[in-house]
């Protein structure tokens, strides 16, 4: 694995004068799921935002498919094939589900937008049913589906999810994770931050445990779940 598909390597930086990330490295292979876990305030979301270019790096680089994209704006990274689902305010609440998906495809000039939309409706059948309803009227789990669907409309190669299961019930969480596995199987790399560490690591090909903006443990999801140290400190025994 000399060249992971997407890698943020030795990232150091923060929003202001104080660094939040300290030589943090995150990588994901094609079609795999990488999960970032860790205690509150560990810089999980910040690390992912750094990969997406929403944060200025003082050191380190981000490479997508071998190309250095460290200097690109988030918008430019979307055009390069990265999709990002923010944790909050990730849908257009006053617009219908279908309009949300259309806006997701705003940068696309080709004719295949309707096909992509049909694929997303296959993935999330409930969205097809509610496609003419305002997205803000949907339940929490359905809103997350809209948010993920919107990001998928650009047909990204990498999908980055910031706590996609925050505030949804356990049943809805399992359902969302199943869909995320399905997305990964279609060849899209997934990089996500999760509060529900145990469940997330179960579906992860690769897991990163961050503490205070630095890598503490990096291994396969299974190995992290089996590691007694990780279990004791981060998974509640």
């Amino acid at each position: 694995m000399a060249h992971p598909f997407l890698i943020g390597e030795n990232m150091t930086g923060g929003y202001g004068a104080v660094d939040i990330l300290h030589s943090c490295t995150l990588a994901v292979e094609k079609g795999e799921i990488a999960v970032i876990v860790g205690p509150n305030g560990a810089g999980k979301s910040t690390a992912m935002k750094a990969v997406f270019g929403m944060l200025k790096l003082r050191q380190g680089s981000v490479r997508l498919n071998g190309e250095d994209i460290s200097r690109l704006s988030p918008q430019a990274r979307v055009r390069k094939g990265m999709g990002f689902v923010p944790q909050t305010q990730n849908i257009f609440t006053s617009m219908t589900v279908e309009e949300n998906l259309e806006m997701g495809a705003f940068i696309r000039e080709d004719e295949g937008i309707q096909d992509t939309m049909a694929q997303i409706y296959d993935l999330f059948p409930i969205l097809k049913e509610k496609r003419h309803q305002a997205a803000g009227e949907l339940s929490g789990g359905q809103r997350q589906q809209v948010a993920v669907g919107r990001a998928l409309m650009t047909r990204p190669q990498v999908l980055m999810l910031d706590e996609p299961t925050a505030g949804v019930s356990p049943i809805v969480m399992d359902e969302l994770f199943d869909r995320i596995i399905e997305i990964a199987r279609s060849g899209i790399s997934i990089l996500m931050v999760e509060q529900n560490a145990r469940q997330a690591l179960e579906i992860a090909d690769k897991g990163y445990v961050l503490v205070q903006g630095a890598n503490r443990y990096s291994d396969t999801g299974k190995a992290l779940l089996a590691d007694p140290e990780v279990r004791k400190s981060f998974l509640g025994g």
Binding site: P74, F84, P86
Partner: protein, 334 residues
């Protein structure tokens, strides 16, 4: 027959003027609400943008008239509108380039943009006065009445006349067409949807690749067009005077706020709420009442709650009540 006469008098003095004035206010409030939704500040220069647009419409009307062009029974100003809209759009885009863009780049707070718009208001007011002065300009031509009072009386045999002036009918019809076109644009076109997306969630819109400069430009053009149309319709109906347009700012803002700032449907509803409130409160009800109750019950008074000189107070009171009771307005704006 007395009830019929009362209804006709009501239509003549309340319903027709209310629909006309409401249409004009609705168009004005739509411009304010669009600017608020997309650029996120209250544009105090909107009244004077209306004045500027109207002045342009007047100048182009005179030009067309000097060439001997007219619209038959309709006001020539309708033909001048496209030219006036184009000029006003250029003017507001220029203002944005010179004033607002600077503050947008600084990510200035809405209150700063609002204060800047007060400055723009004074400048534009001065510019408009340099062009046509402060005098009253009457520029409606064509047929005076769609429904002349004498004709109505002759046909129905009622004592009470009903008049519908051409400018009143034009106001309502043009407003309906504009609103239909605007909603079609916002709900059916890609650019319109991107405007709504930008207004709904700016960060996500940027993430989706929506170009903010383009959204801002389109918004200014539409707001300029709406201001020109609203101002011209009002001027055709009640003549043009620059200070009257300056004073329109209050009822227009009241309309937009009553309906819910940022909500286009709210702006239209608010326009009619304000227009009818003003007219209901300042109308002299004696004539209508005289058909319903014996003359002797009415005494000497006009049965007018407030003199028309104080009609602005109505907007003001409604504005205060709405801000106290339901600050987000009817449609729950921002």
């Amino acid at each position: 027959m007395d009830l019929l006469n009362a209804l006709v008098a009501f239509a003549n003095f309340v319903l027709v003027p209310g629909l006309t004035y409401g249409s004009q206010l609705a168009l004005g409030a739509l411009g304010v609400t669009l600017i608020f939704a997309v650029l996120r500040f209250s544009n105090f220069a909107h009244g004077d943008t209306m004045a500027f647009g109207t002045v342009m419409a007047i100048l182009f009307t005179w030009l067309l008239q000097s060439w001997g062009i007219s619209a038959g029974p309709l006001p020539t100003a309708l033909l001048a509108l496209p030219l006036a809209i184009a000029t006003t759009a250029l003017m507001v885009l220029g203002t944005d380039r010179v004033v607002y863009r600077f503050y947008r780049r600084q990510k200035a707070r809405p209150i700063i943009l609002m204060i800047a718009s007060v400055g723009v208001m004074f400048v534009m007011n001065g510019v408009v006065r340099m062009i046509l002065g402060t005098r009253e300009v009457k520029f409606d031509d064509g047929a005076r009445f769609l429904l002349a009072p004498a004709d109505f009386r002759a046909t129905t045999g009622l004592a009470e006349p009903l008049a519908i002036r051409t400018t009143q009918a034009v106001s309502v019809v043009v407003a309906v067409l504009c609103v239909a076109a605007l909603f079609w644009f916002l709900n059916r076109t890609r650019t319109g949807k991107s405007m709504r997306a930008f207004s709904d969630n700016e960060d996500l819109a940027l993430l989706s690749g929506i170009n903010p400069d383009r959204v801002v430009m389109v918004t200014w053009i539409i707001a300029g067009a709406l201001a020109t149309i609203a101002g011209t319709l009002y001027g055709l109906d009640k003549n043009y005077r620059v200070f009257v347009y300056f004073g329109m700012l209050l009822p227009i803002f009241a309309s937009a706020i009553v309906g819910g700032l940022g909500s286009p449907i709210g702006a239209i509803l608010g326009g009619f709420v304000i227009a009818f409130s003003e007219i209901l409160v300042t109308n002299a009800w004696r004539k209508i009442l005289s058909y319903l109750v014996p003359e002797s019950w009415l005494g000497e008074g006009l049965w007018q709650a407030l003199s028309t000189d104080y009609k602005v107070a109505v907007s003001f009171v409604i504005l205060i009540i709405v801000l106290l009771v339901k600050p987000n307005g009817i449609m729950g704006g921002k």
